[in-house]
Subunit: 192 residues, 2 copies
Amino acid sequence: MMLSQEEAPRRSDATRAAILEAARHRFAADGFQKATIRAIAADADIDPSMVMRYYGNKDGLFDAAVDVDLGLADIADIEPGRLGETLMRHALTVWERSPTSEILLTLMRSSITDDRAIAKFQEIFARQIMPAVLSVGDPDDAPRRAGLLASQVLGVAFTRYVLKLPPVVAMTADQLVAEIGPTIQRYLTSRP
Amino acid sequence: MMLSQEEAPRRSDATRAAILEAARHRFAADGFQKATIRAIAADADIDPSMVMRYYGNKDGLFDAAVDVDLGLADIADIEPGRLGETLMRHALTVWERSPTSEILLTLMRSSITDDRAIAKFQEIFARQIMPAVLSVGDPDDAPRRAGLLASQVLGVAFTRYVLKLPPVVAMTADQLVAEIGPTIQRYLTSRP
DNA sequence: CTGGCATGTCAACAGTTGTTGGCCTACACT
DNA sequence: AGTGTAGGCCAACAACTGTTGACATGCCAG
């Protein structure tokens, strides 16, 4: 009995999910190259060939594992004067909450070595960050402001979660919001 | 006849240098994992076993290839009011001039996947950036200010040279200095 | 000239990788 | 109950990896 033309629940859904979760962990910890299908399969407690069956190849698995929603849809509702502060706090939350943080770490760790990850990052920038910035301030100037925003937010993420520079790690979320929030605010509202 | 106890010029110096240059290129382009000794040797037009002979193993080659001077020694000479502007321009220069830029790109591309690169980055931060920041402003507060500085400068490098986000790539050096210089200035002179 | 030694080449090793095909098992439908 | 099929496991493949050792070459000191 076919329930629907698509999205039919499969008996293997649990396995698929286990693979995906293990993949996210491994990719986040090791990056695309270093994360092996064998290790992912071992974490998920299944056979490596299962990964191939369900996701085709390693690239397919990566694409499936890396899909993220930054939650920037309703940026327009934020009080304009508190944009920087609010966005910075939101960024820290997103970066410190699984599974989103694992996906972002995965992309960062892999972008270093793989065009796949760079492409995905650019897609996230174009499809989530740019539209959000478009909804505040001068639309024509949105790319420049979005670029500046990304340079600061990703810089914090890189130094705090990848390089783990001691002073950046030591700062609390409140401190980071207080220090960097104003920067974000200035970038978002600056004129060309 | 032994000329000296160390640093004697060797007949293989040219080969060693060729290996190092090829290694820098490959590491910068591919990161530590993806860059293979065979590829590096092919670029340098020598046998892979030569790499092993002169640098021990892949780790040794990486250590030898990744050694950088950010040129921050005389930061104290900069006019205090123009610190941010001057440092931002200096950073862009360093990141766009070989071979320093290649080394930094190498570290960034590899830090994603390898603890070696992270350790080297932390060393550069501790030995070059921290001392520089120590020489301006309150020494007790230097780590925090250096951390903020690094988060913004590395963020620009990451979005401009690794992710190549179009708006960040499109900006000229002058534009970046004008936009981001004030941020650096504020971070360097801020109070805790 | 002749020996030794640094330099370089060649081939092969052992391990790991992504990937594939064959086979067994157990569920779901008639 | 019987059967087709999806789910899962095992073993193996070919390619590639870092690394090693044996052998050739040519420079330089004696």
